[in-house]
């Protein structure tokens, strides 16, 4: 079984400041890792994913994340946030090489509040 921990339920940050949203996972097998964003009253949108290869993954809207196998982490970063980044962010993990999304485990989410 796998699990995901998002350490911060809310992260306030000033506009144009950098931000890091933390995510740790546990799994005994190889994993895929994801970050999703959810804007108010919207569904989830995939920001980025790690499947294999380079541990630094770049996604949409200037976000990036680094897969650290030794620390079992997949923290999300952005060097300069914008008001429009205000949303809830979900980290997710699934067992690698399995088809389908039924085995994807989501974290409880981190609400990013960008302050003007």
């Amino acid at each position: 079984a796998q699990s995901v921990t998002q350490l911060d339920s809310q992260v306030p940050v000033f506009e144009e400041a950098p931000v890091e949203l933390r995510c740790n996972y546990s799994s005994s097998v190889s994993v895929y890792l994801f970050w999703y964003v959810q804007y108010p009253n919207q569904g989830l949108q995939l920001l980025l994913k790690y499947l294999s290869g380079s541990t630094l993954v770049k996604g949409i809207n200037g976000f990036e994340a680094e897969f650290n196998k030794s620390q079992t982490s997949f923290h999300l970063r952005k060097p300069s946030v914008h008001i429009s980044d205000t949303a809830e962010y979900f980290c997710a993990v699934s067992r690698a090489y399995t088809g389908g999304y039924q085995k994807v485990t989501f974290g409880t989410g981190t609400k990013l509040q960008v302050i003007p």
Binding site: F90, G100, Y101, Q102, V104, F106
Partner: protein
């Protein structure tokens, strides 16, 4: 190309009633997933349908059920509604995985409120 569409967007029911939620996947996608997003609990996997069959279900009671139609659209039914069923219900669709990664795309959800 249309994305995943869910209806209705909002639904208010009283305790004990039944709720029916609908999902239309992206054209060509055969897999449909249902998730419950209750306040503070993240997304909990409910059901997975593929090619008309229920393939897997999460840790939810049998009063949560559904089906997938020949056109791959899907219905989620919640019987004997309880107050704690109030949540955002998200549907996602994907191509069939067959052991490889396939991206799932989410709809905007149905907000179910049980009073």
């Amino acid at each position: 190309e249309a994305g995943v569409t869910q209806s209705p967007t909002h639904l208010i029911k009283t305790r004990g009633q039944q709720a029916t939620l609908r999902c239309s996947p992206i054209s060509g996608h055969t897999s449909v997933y249902w998730y419950q997003q209750a306040l503070g609990l993240g997304l909990q996997f409910l059901l997975w349908y593929d090619e008309g069959e229920e393939r897997n279900r999460g840790n939810f009671p049998p009063r949560f059920s559904g089906r997938q139609f020949p056109n791959y659209s899907s219905e989620l039914n919640v019987n004997a509604l309880e107050l704690e069923d109030s949540a955002l219900y998200l549907c996602a669709s994907s191509l069939k995985g067959k052991g490889r990664y396939t991206e799932a795309f989410f709809g905007q959800g149905t907000r179910l409120t049980v009073v």
